[in-house]
């Protein structure tokens, strides 16, 4: 029987009960031990000290190893002892063997915890913490970790604070601040109090790093939409960044960009525009590729129409391309200069910027918001002996889409209305048979009844009508589809325009698979395995708005929420799934 359960009244300052010698004394002051609570805290004192001492408290220093201890530390075993000696015990049974095993476990644990990190000075990379910049700068050349961690800027090798702290804990670097090496405790204090990374985020970061993943900070600009990926745009992005990385030191004049680089590096181009340009424009065009201005046109807002819309555009583009090279595509000069400067300054963790839809105009052949008047291209864009001219592509619009459009209900109504006014009533032969108004009205009435299921007038003639007519659905699934009130939505639907809330949940890290380490390139990491959002259990579950915004921000990479509870990490994610509709399944 476990003798440890004692019922005591839970009052502060109660009398100390006589302790059983085998157990931990629960009431302080306890007997023995140099680490007593305070001076004079012996059995005579009944109450714990009510007020804190006004004077400052001296925090005792950590252990400093002497030279023999250092040498001894190098020759200690590198293997971790196993966790439990023997099978796990179910209940304490007071046996000596159990006690012995426990004691052994404990001894090993204290010994392990008390070990200090000892490294050869030659194998440590010196690094300096720069609080004003929020980075750690490497003072000696980086080691193997440079393959997956850190970034370059202006010729310096830099680490993020969480990376530096992790490497310090691993014993790979020595971190200095004002020429004094930092202990791990000081490093935790200095590096984790900034607004860039906090304690929870560091715990998740180090947990994942210890498992072997490659963890980088989240870069919103690197999120490619599925469409961009389809066009292999990330291949171009790599080429771009490698190129500009090499040309880091050159002046940032955009005129120096040669034709070898895709023109998209220069301006905030509509990402769809960019894709089409790349696929359609010959690369040897635009030798100096300075931008010219684009006329603004409305960009299509509806994403579902996107793919069909763009495919429609491809046709006129090829046609236009035959008319004139560069086909009047010009880019805005606005924001171009600063773009190229940014692109040239190497990859400072943030690659190309997001497309700015508002500033990009694009020829638009679709049925809504047409933009078909295309200006003549600037003559300096064209090769010699090629004249550009203005064109109005309106005539092509009719020849575009050979397939019958599926119009939305509103469009159908609009077209029906338009047809009403366009069509001639007298062209109808049945109307021509009517000789007077009365017959005409009867014809109309007949038609109306036919249309509205005259056989079931008792159903359809009332204010409350059936939801479906028999011809509308042919299977239970179709019936359910027609009468459903809730439509299937996906998490990223409608998320494009959501604004960020200050202080809300944000994506912290991109996580790449551990087995891709050999092929991992920092400048073009590719698509991450997952993205992490970090929170604690005390914080509320993210609301739908945040979830949508974050899922949209993450693109097609799954989003994982890492929840910290006092050292324990749990990983959660939200899944989109569709409920089956057909009853038969």
């Amino acid at each position: 029987m476990w003798a440890g359960i004692r019922t005591q009244e839970s009052q502060a300052g109660g009398k100390p009960v006589g302790e059983e010698p085998a157990l931990r004394p629960r009431r302080v002051p306890a007997g023995g031990g140099a680490h007593e609570a305070r001076a004079g805290a012996d059995c005579g004192q009944m109450e714990p000290e009510p007020e804190p001492e006004p004077a400052a408290v001296e925090v005792p220093p950590g252990r400093v190893l002497s030279a023999p201890e250092l040498l001894a530390a190098r020759s200690r075993s590198q293997k971790l002892p196993q966790r439990s000696h023997g099978p796990k015990d179910f209940l304490p049974d007071g046996s000596a063997a159990q006690a012995e095993r426990l004691r052994q476990c404990r001894e090993e644990l204290w010994q392990l915890l008390a070990e200090e990190r000892v490294e050869r000075l030659g194998s440590l990379v010196a690094a300096e913490w720069r609080p004003e910049e929020g980075f750690v700068e490497l003072k000696s050349p980086a080691g193997k970790f440079w393959h997956t961690m850190g970034f370059s800027e202006q010729g310096r090798q830099l680490l993020h604070p969480e990376e530096a702290l992790y490497l310090l804990e691993c014993g790979s670097i020595q971190l200095f601040y004002q020429d004094l090496p930092l202990s791990i405790q000081e490093a935790y204090q200095l590096l984790l109090t900034g607004d860039t990374v906090n304690f929870l985020q560091y715990q998740v970061f180090s947990h994942l790093k210890r498992l072997g993943y490659v963890v980088r900070r989240f870069q919103p600009s690197s999120v490619l939409s599925p469409y961009e990926r389809q066009l292999n745009l990330d291949g171009y992005a790599q080429h771009l960044e490698d190129g500009t990385g090499k040309r880091k030191r050159s002046t940032s004049s955009r005129q120096e960009q040669t034709a070898a680089f895709p023109p998209m590096s220069l301006s905030p181009v509509n990402k769809k525009a960019k894709g089409l340009e790349d696929s359609l424009l010959p690369m040897n065009l635009a030798a100096s590729s300075p931008p010219a201005s684009i006329q603004n046109s409305q960009c299509p807002e509806e994403k579902p129409q996107e793919s069909s819309y763009v495919k429609d555009l491809e046709v006129p583009f090829q046609l236009l391309g035959s008319l004139e090279p560069c086909s009047g595509l010009a880019r805005e000069g606005r924001g171009c200069g600063q773009e190229s400067v940014k692109a040239e300054n190497g990859v400072k963790g943030a690659g190309k910027l997001r497309w700015n839809f508002e500033q990009i105009s694009f020829p638009n052949m679709a049925s809504d918001s047409r933009h078909t008047l295309l200006a003549a291209p600037a003559p300096e864009l064209l090769p010699a002996n090629v004249a550009g001219r203005e064109t109005d592509a309106e005539s092509w619009c009719q020849k575009l889409n050979q397939r019958k459009e599926k119009l939305s209900r509103r469009e159908q109504e609009q077209q029906a209305e338009a047809r009403q006014f366009r069509g001639d009533v007298n062209a109808d032969p049945e109307v021509q048979h009517c000789s007077n108004w009365r017959e005409y009205k009867e014809l109309l009435h007949r038609r109306h009844l036919q249309k509205n299921h005259s056989c079931l007038l008792h159903l359809w003639g009332q204010p409350v009508t059936p939801l479906l007519s028999p011809g509308q659905a042919d299977s239970p699934a179709a019936v359910l589809q027609h009468i459903s009130v809730l439509q299937t939505t996906h998490l990223a639907d409608g998320a494009a325009g959501l604004l960020e809330k200050p202080g809300g949940l944000e994506i912290s890290f991109d996580v790449y698979q551990a087995d891709s380490v050999a092929m991992f390139r920092k400048n073009s990491p590719g698509k991450p395995h997952a993205r992490m959002c970090i929170s604690g259990f005390d914080e509320p579950v993210p609301d739908l708005c945040s979830l949508k915004r974050l899922t949209f921000q993450s693109g097609d990479v799954p989003l994982i929420f890492a929840l910290m509870d006092h050292g324990d990490i749990s990983f959660y994610s939200f899944r989109d799934f569709t409920l089956p509709k057909d009853l038969e399944h």
């Binding site: 306890a30 691993c170 405790q185």
Partner: protein, 271 residues
């Protein structure tokens, strides 16, 4: 005296002896959240610092076992002094390590000497046996002579080196990457009854509730740890680690009179 530094509501213990004292004498577990020096790239065993639950920190402060302090900022005025003492300590360690390394080399050489002597003797014996076979005797002799010469040379070169008082190359110097701050500092004590930036828990109803339960169970002799990943508040063990108990769900509610009522739930099969 046990001192625990608190920053942003988080209490971290950086000394191994302190962790031992907390666990063995006071029955407060905490959770190790740092990398273990011996194996920093694995997650099954973690090392210092030890993270304490706010309830644990408060309990320890209430019973007077520990003094909570706000994590001290580095004092710029003391920086020069610290830097000077660090450099002095580094130099001293360097000298000592060189001396120790020289001693180690010397003792190794002594061992080697014996082995060399043994080896030479054995070889001489072998040669004498082989000399009866004839043939390549002269070569063998020359070889053995050369070998002996080589063997003889070997002891002398390290002796020369150590006699020259060669220091360890700087890159071979061993340094300690300290876990806890290696020098004492002064810190302001923290009052856990008052809400502050470093201790935001005071007065929060959730914290008070959890604390009352924690305290009651601790006084009954149980060992508690965090249970967020199981969906609960605490995991309660009858003793320190090593026990694997059948788990039941316990609902606790403190009564206004200070007592706590526990209700245990168990799965019942419907057969």
């Amino acid at each position: 005296m046990l001192v625990v530094e608190v920053a942003n509501g988080r209490s971290l213990v950086w000394g191994a002896e302190a962790v031992q004292a907390l666990r063995e004498r006071l029955g407060v577990g905490g959770r190790a959240v740092g990398a273990l020096p011996r194996g920093p790239r694995q997650n099954s065993r973690l090392g210092l610092p030890l993270l304490l639950l706010p309830e644990e920190a408060r309990l320890l402060a209430e019973i007077g076992a520990v003094t909570l302090v706000s994590a001290p900022r580095p004092d710029p005025s003391l920086h020069g002094q610290a830097l000077a003492s660090f450099r002095r300590q580094q130099e001293q360690s360097f000298q000592e390590q060189s001396a120790l390394a020289a001693e180690a080399r010397e003792s190794r050489r002594q061992e080697l000497l014996e082995k060399i002597a043994e080896g030479q003797a054995a070889k001489k014996q072998k040669l004498e046996q082989d000399s009866g076979a004839g043939g390549s005797e002269s070569e063998a002799q020359a070889e053995s002579g050369a070998d002996a010469g080589a063997w003889v040379h070997l002891p002398s070169s390290p002796r020369a080196a150590s006699d020259a008082g060669a220091l360890l190359p700087r890159s071979a110097l061993l340094v300690q990457l300290a876990t806890a701050r290696p020098r004492p500092v002064k810190a302001r004590p923290l009052d856990w009854r008052v809400q502050s930036k470093d201790w935001p828990h005071a007065g929060r109803p959730a914290h008070e509730l959890r604390y009352s339960i924690y305290r009651d169970l601790w006084e009954r002799g149980f060992f508690l740890s965090a249970a967020g990943k199981f969906g609960g508040d605490f995991l309660v063990y009858p003793g320190e680690r090593g026990w694997d108990v059948r788990k039941t769900l316990l609902l606790c509610s403190p009564q206004p009179d200070g007592k706590v009522v526990y209700t245990s739930l168990q799965w019942a099969s419907l057969q």
